[in-house]
Symmetry: C2
Subunit: 192 residues, 2 copies
């Protein structure tokens, strides 16, 4: 999928590339969705264990949040197929696939946000924030760099997502999520 | 499309529903993509003229930004097919459709963000912010309420997008985009 930069591959392509027997691949995973799900589950499991590790670190909730923002954007960048795969599986007519993606991807990530926000609020670092709304805004914003970018490239002259763009977006998201767009002066005025 | 809450409709469905002749619909729009594009172009044109109107108002850039956030989320909510249509057309094998969407949807919105951010920075209200990165994060976050929500509903017990959820999300996004998640105390500490 990385080679072709597409998820439009067949089980026999995979069998051929891997040197495995197509029938064996089919026996093991059932069908293409089964194989894609297994692939996504493997990568998701790695990312989710990183989240547990991050939560246990002796650093502030703010520092954890910043590391998490960088982590999501880099994971999407490193596994370009992950994002397309999630979109594809969530919109399958096969609702069992969509349920699986919710179970091993959406649910643990939402749970992580819930715990991180609670920690930040209890430490006086974060404003009280709804975890479901927070999940939606953070994941949506990170996702859109990869999902929406090629639409921008065409008509607007915006280039593709490179290492540099990734780094800039991580910095942008850290600043925006932590401090927002208002200058200190304006914010103090709004608060007062 | 609203009736079926799906964009999976045929030209003849449309002809039947509207009382028009299927051949005439085909003659006028060429094919289904042509009709969907015309529909999206019509709604996008309305939204874009609202943006020009907003930019000309004698209010602060911060007030304009807040109205804009509410405007995007309400537009997606009012036209549930708009979001799916954009996703569908941008991922068509027909790249001409994707180019059209970029031209009448992405480009004018990006241009609006560019001008609003410049105004806010020149008035000392906003931090210097890259318009392309800002567009990506704001549109991605708004889009995800509608695109990602049904994935969350299943495995995580999160309900559908109602009037109330919309209002909560508008409030959440206004707060997050303007002031971020950090409390004033933390932010002052981070800045100092």
């Amino acid at each position: 999928m990385i080679e072709r930069s597409s998820i439009e591959i067949s089980l026999s392509d995979i069998a051929q590339k891997s040197g495995a027997n197509a029938a064996l691949v089919k026996y093991h995973f059932g069908n293409k969705d089964g194989l894609l799900l297994a692939l996504l589950a493997r990568d998701a499991a790695t990312e989710m264990s990183n989240l547990e590790y991050l939560l246990a670190q002796p650093i502030t909730a703010t520092a954890k949040l910043k590391l998490h923002i960088g982590g999501i954007i880099r994971a999407y960048y490193r596994f370009p197929y992950m994002n397309r795969l999630i979109h594809y599986l969530l919109h399958e007519t096969n609702t069992a696939s969509a349920d699986e993606v919710s179970k091993f991807f959406v649910a643990p990530l939402l749970d992580f946000h819930r715990r991180l926000l609670a920690e930040g609020v209890s430490q006086g670092e974060f404003r009280a924030t709804d975890p479901v709304l927070f999940y939606t805004s953070l994941i949506g914003a990170c996702d859109h760099l990869f999902f929406g970018r090629h639409a921008m490239s065409r008509a607007t002259g915006v280039g593709p997502v490179t290492d540099d763009v990734c780094r800039q977006y991580i910095k942008h998201m850290e600043t925006l999520i932590c401090g927002g767009i208002l200058t200190q002066v304006e914010e103090a005025a709004a608060a007062g």
